[in-house]
Amino acid sequence: MQKEKVITANELTKRFGTFTAVDKITFEVDKGEIFGFLGANGAGKTTAMRMLCGLSLPTSGLATVAGYDVYKQNELIKKNIGYMSQKFSLYEDLTVRENIQFYGGIYGLTDERIKEKTDLLLKQLQLEEAGKKLVRALPLGWKQKLAFSIAIVHDPAIVFLDEPTGGVDPITRREFWSLIYEASERGITIFVTTHYMDEAEYCDRVSIMVDGRIDALDSPANLMRDYAANSMDEVFLHLARKAVRSE
């Protein structure tokens, strides 16, 4: 098991018939890193993430996540990662508490641990009075923060966030990123995709996928220097314009 590297990928490839969605990508993610995984729609981001989450088998190439092999040990991968998708994966017709209890149970936490975590989460998110409310009744920003906290309720090695901040007001978006920072300080590695280029700048390193390949991989500061750009937005546009493939 490699402790320092939470993700390793070597020429990871996924083909659907004659279409190569992910084309020999190679990269590594360190423990505790906030890693931004960017790319236009159709560039292959989602397919790549699914392989890393153990949801889809690669066509060729190698990869390990949290030290486990994506081909042979994907059940172990699923136990050791957290996942939050854009649709938040919370049950709207269950209460806040019930959602926490459910996911805690699914991830195999003991009853005491679930109780501990529930109280802790509610306090942290300032949702103490909302514990018995149906998730449906919460404002969008709170749902998001709750979904993130639940995704890491089992203290996984790494959490995958698939465009977590869509459509929310700017303050809530930043409060969300505070939660991400806190998690990162605790040693949880963050693997996040986003459409907001300023959020790309919060990351330690960023990769940009174009047409199934990784065309850039570095810290935001270095990328902006290399492409003589003032923002990640400019870097992204520069690379995305070259894309042959669109959704």
Partner: protein, 368 residues
């Protein structure tokens, strides 16, 4: 293992909090048992019959009384001629007629043989069979009772005549039923789904904000289904006539005309449903529950309506398919003309106009 149980608990909570699903899960079985247990039955009860007693002697009167008293039968009237029998059958008022020939008792006493004629409306062959069987068994009981003390046995033969459908083909009954069902399904359900799909996909918003009048949107939505229905009717009729040997005894034009009328009735029901349904799933569910199921149960082709409790018989009157089924049977199987079905046709016309009026008026020109 614990993960398994927490998942089960979650599923339980989902069901409990979804009022509509709960309603189905708890009420449906109850409703079904009540319906099938008390109301819908293939069993024949109180079937209306007519008796043509040419003999009017002790034997014929006794047998007549036994038959009338039986819970299977209910005497509608005594008739005095074959013509009257025919007319009563045409009006759809009776399912069975019992005919005693002149000198019934005399024949029995002097020759030990006699005959009783049973004429049944075999457009519904199952019911016709059952009725003739019940009648025959009552007659046999009488036969047995008079044979008790005699040395030479009396035999009463029953001569059965199956009207409209001598070969007792099931197809004669279910083809009209299927026509009603198919038209209701295609027109009502598909129209409602098509209108609601537009709402769900968001394109309804865009076409509302255009010069296109909402009224025209509805009509445009229904026309393809009108045409498809015509095709369906054509194919059903072709198959029925050529593959199932079901005749079209009456006026073909009248049959088509009535079918078009019923199609329009179904289409307006579809529009009505689409006015309230918000998702395609709801439209589908509502169509099935409030149109398809009642058509299946109350049109009369699976469960004869006269065998149902009064309450359900009344309800069946608001099911358009009931009237259409009668019309198709009368025209197609019995070969009757407009004179026989004008009442049912009027009912359908009134229903259609009312439904069209309501559904067009309620069609939302705004999103909410």
């Amino acid at each position: 293992m614990k993960q398994f149980f927490i998942f089960v608990k979650k599923e339980w909570l989902h069901i409990w909090r979804d009022k509509r699903t709960l309603f189905i899960l708890i009420w449906m079985p109850i409703v079904q048992i009540l319906l099938y247990g008390f109301a819908l039955t293939n069993e024949v009860k109180n079937s209306k019959i007519a008796i043509f007693d040419e003999a009017k002697d002790e034997a014929s009167t006794t047998i007549s009384q036994e038959i009338s008293a039986s819970r299977y039968f209910s005497l509608l009237k005594n008739v005095d001629s074959y013509k009257e029998i025919e007319a009563t059958f045409r009006q759809g008022k009776i399912r069975l007629a019992v005919v005693f020939p002149r000198g019934f008792r005399n024949d029995l006493l002097h020759t030990n043989h006699a005959q009783i004629q049973l004429i049944a409306d075999a457009s519904d062959p199952n019911t016709a069979n059952m009725l003739t069987n019940y009648a025959t068994s009552i007659i046999n009981d009488y036969q047995q009772s008079i044979n008790q003390n005699e040395k030479l046995p009396y035999t009463i033969k029953t001569q059965v005549r199956m009207l409209y459908n001598p070969e007792l083909k099931g197809a004669y009954n279910f083809v009209p039923g299927v026509m009603a069902l198919v038209l209701m399904l295609v027109c009502a359900m598909m129209t409602s789904i098509s209108i609601v799909r537009e709402k769900e996909m968001g394109t309804m918003e865009v076409i509302l904000v255009s010069p296109l009048k909402p009224f025209r949107i509805i009509i445009a939505k229904t026309i393809p289904y009108l045409l498809v229905s015509m095709l369906n009717i054509a194919s059903i009729l072709l198959l029925s006539v050529y593959a199932l040997d079901v005749p079209i005894r009456g006026n073909f034009g009248l049959l088509i005309g009535e079918s078009i009328l019923f199609t329009i009735t179904s289409l307006s029901l579809g529009i009505l449903i689409s006015n309230t349904a918000k998702t395609q799933q709801t439209a589908q569910f509502t169509s099935l529950m409030s149109l398809f199921l009642p058509t299946l149960l109350f049109s009369g082709f699976l469960f004869p309506i006269e065998n149902m409790p009064i309450a359900l018989q009344v309800i069946s009157n608001i099911v358009p398919a009931k009237w259409y089924y009668i019309i198709v049977k009368d025209v197609m199987i019995k070969g009757l003309g407009f004179g026989a079905v004008w009442k049912e046709t009027m009912i359908l016309i009134v229903m259609t106009l009312a439904l069209l009026g309501i559904s067009i008026r309620n069609f939302k020109i705004r999103l909410a």
